[in-house]
């Protein structure tokens, strides 16, 4: 289902969490709300869920205004960062919770719970308590619990934030697969740009209670609307007054028009890629990313003087992109 957020504002005391935010999430899409902590992304998600109420603005799900509706009435599934598992219930009972509330028959509950537990790969854990599961398993259980009631919209609040890096990466791919199979409109809150790029069809970059840009992962990365978006989506260096991604910096041993002198302070080998840390003539640090063969050709070492230049096709901030996911 389509989600529309219109002119939402929310204050907590003196702190403005959301400032006139408008966003559309297309049916069946997986949209990431990406931003640093305190940017308002979680608050926005909780307002969509009905767990917080906005000071101004409206939330529409499938065209119907649900701003005043309680969470129970919104047809949503919500997954919390710290799982919010029902600690006194077994995995099976956790997943069955929403179905029991909805008075499904015993046989229906059993069938649906079994289906969901196999979907998230927890059938052998059905009788265990959440405390006996690993973090990743607990979060998969929470996802199964949220999906059990066939929500119109799935809302995930930093779902992988409390997990180890390798579990996180695995669950990301799993979530994307799940979304492709189930097709539930999903909104994911994350502060991890890599996670957003990998999982989402569409990214809304948030900063200080506002949405800076909405676009596909490629759009926000290649044509950032603002310096903030550019800086948040990956490492950047400022060269000749322009923000440049390290892999767009060209490095040469020969001076040329528009190039700036820099000294190599460190050469870091990262497998296929090599990161060259530089100090510009102005004393500012900068970064370039080269392939191994490029580095070998240039025979770069610490202390070398090189000439760097931003890419020819300039990366001026793009004209403001439409706020449509």
């Amino acid at each position: 289902m389509r989600i529309e957020v219109r002119g939402i504002s929310k204050r907590f005391g003196d702190f403005t969490a959301l400032d006139d935010v408008t966003l559309e999430v297309g049916e069946g899409s997986l949209t990431a709300l990406l931003g640093p902590s305190g940017s308002g992304k979680s608050t926005l998600l909780r307002i969509v869920a009905g767990l917080e109420s906005p000071d101004a603005g409206a939330v529409l799900i499938d065209g119907a205004d649900v701003t005043a509706a309680r969470p129970q009435e919104r047809g949503i599934g919500f997954v919390f960062q710290h799982y919010a598992a029902f600690t006194h219930m077994s995995v099976r009972e956790n997943v069955a919770f929403g179905l029991r509330i909805r008075k499904y028959s015993r046989a229906e509950v059993r069938a649906r719970v079994h289906e969901l537990l196999s979907l998230v790969g927890l059938t052998t854990w059905a009788q265990q308590l959440p405390a006996q599961l690993s973090g990743g398993q607990r979060q998969r259980m929470a996802l199964a619990r949220a999906l059990a009631v066939e929500p119109r919209v799935l809302l995930l609040d930093e779902p992988f934030g409390a997990l180890d890096a390798n579990v996180r990466a695995e669950l990301r791919r799993w979530l994307r697969r799940l979304h492709d199979e189930q097709g539930v409109t999903t909104v994911l809150v994350t502060h991890d740009q890599e996670e957003a790029m990998e999982v989402a069809d569409s990214i809304a970059v948030m900063n200080a209670g506002r949405i800076e840009q909405v676009g596909s992962p490629r759009e926000v990365y290649d044509s950032p609307a603002t310096d903030f978006v550019m800086g948040f989506l990956g490492p950047v260096s400022r060269i000749a007054g322009r923000l440049v991604r390290p892999h767009d910096v060209s490095v040469s041993l020969i001076s040329s028009d528009g190039a700036i002198e820099a000294m190599v302070t460190r050469v870091v080998h990262l497998g296929f890629e090599v990161r060259i840390e530089l100090e510009l003539g102005s004393g500012e640090p900068a970064r370039a990313q080269l392939t191994r063969s490029q580095t070998e050709q240039l025979e770069l070492a610490r202390g070398d003087i090189v000439y760097v230049r931003p890419p020819q096709a300039s990366l001026e901030p793009a004209a403001s992109a439409p706020l449509t996911a």
Binding site: A49, P71, F80, F86, F97, G98, I101
Partner: protein, 272 residues
């Protein structure tokens, strides 16, 4: 903090000695004196009509006060921890009132309000309801003195559990009432159980406030603690033995409550 083996042993010895002198020794003496003329004599003293009446009155008062204070206590803890409105700090302070006010004052206050010459006492009497010098007043006094226990046990547990599980239940479609029964109450059940045990112990043992509002008539308005006190103030060797017998009966009731908690508490539950 790391404690050396020797320091730990001596700390343990001191703690045990302290408990022995203050708790076990006096209790042990009561038990010993109760049975010094044999089990039959002691049994005789706790099966007199007055003693049986006192036993049932004590149990009845506890059976009314404990459920009421449990319901009130859970509700109050929810308001204190989950509530958002103003006045919570005032409520928080008021709940501790029974801890800080002497029970005798509580009894006197009840007399002032519900006694024959009190504010409401006359109205109740005209409608044929006697509160002071009757079991009703004794229930009120017990309610008052045992009020804070459930609140004080449940509130920290509620805080520790947090409200994420409740939010999750709401997003899964549960009403506030369903969430309370299926999620909140199971999560705080050990706090509630401990609060109930403390409330029960206090309700069984309370004497100060109850004494003031009781007419102290054996066979009708004497609870077990009052019976112990009354028998103990009489003169003669029999009086002492009879008092000790009733005292032992009361102690055994409290021990059963304590034992019930130890048995019910989950293994590995946090030590308090």
């Amino acid at each position: 903090m790391r404690v050396s083996r020797r320091a730990e042993l001596s700390l343990r010895a001191v703690a045990l000695l302290y408990l022995a002198v203050l708790l076990l020794l006096p209790l042990g003496v009561v038990f010993a004196r109760t049975f010094e003329h044999g089990f039959g004599t002691a049994w005789g003293w706790i099966t007199t009509p007055a003693a049986i009446s006192a036993f049932w009155l004590t149990v009845t008062i506890a059976a009314i006060a404990v459920p009421l204070n449990t319901i009130f206590g859970i509700g109050c803890a929810l308001v204190l921890v989950r509530g958002k409105g103003r006045g919570r700090r005032l409520l928080d302070t008021l709940i501790d009132l029974p801890f800080v006010v002497s029970p005798v004052i509580v009894g006197l206050a009840l007399v002032l309000v519900y006694g024959e010459t009190g504010w409401f006492g006359n109205w109740f009497l005209r409608h044929g309801i006697r509160i002071i010098y009757a079991p009703t007043g004794m229930v009120l006094a017990t309610l008052f003195v045992s009020l804070p226990f459930v609140v004080r046990e449940v509130a920290p547990v509620l805080m520790e559990v947090g409200d994420e599980q409740e939010q999750a239940a709401a997003t899964l479609g549960a009403s506030a009432w369903q969430t309370f029964w299926r999620v909140t109450l199971p999560a705080i059940r050990w706090g509630v159980a401990y609060g109930v045990v403390l409330t029960t112990a206090r309700a069984l043992g309370e004497i100060g406030a109850v004494a003031v509002v009781s007419s102290n008539v054996a066979g009708s308005t004497l609870t077990l603690p009052l019976l112990v006190y009354q028998r103990d103030s009489q003169i003669g060797p029999q009086a002492i033995t009879s008092a000790y017998a009733a005292g032992t009966e009361l102690a055994v009731m409290s021990l059963i409550v304590l034992l019930a908690m130890t048995v019910l508490a989950p293994k590995g539950a946090k030590t308090r």
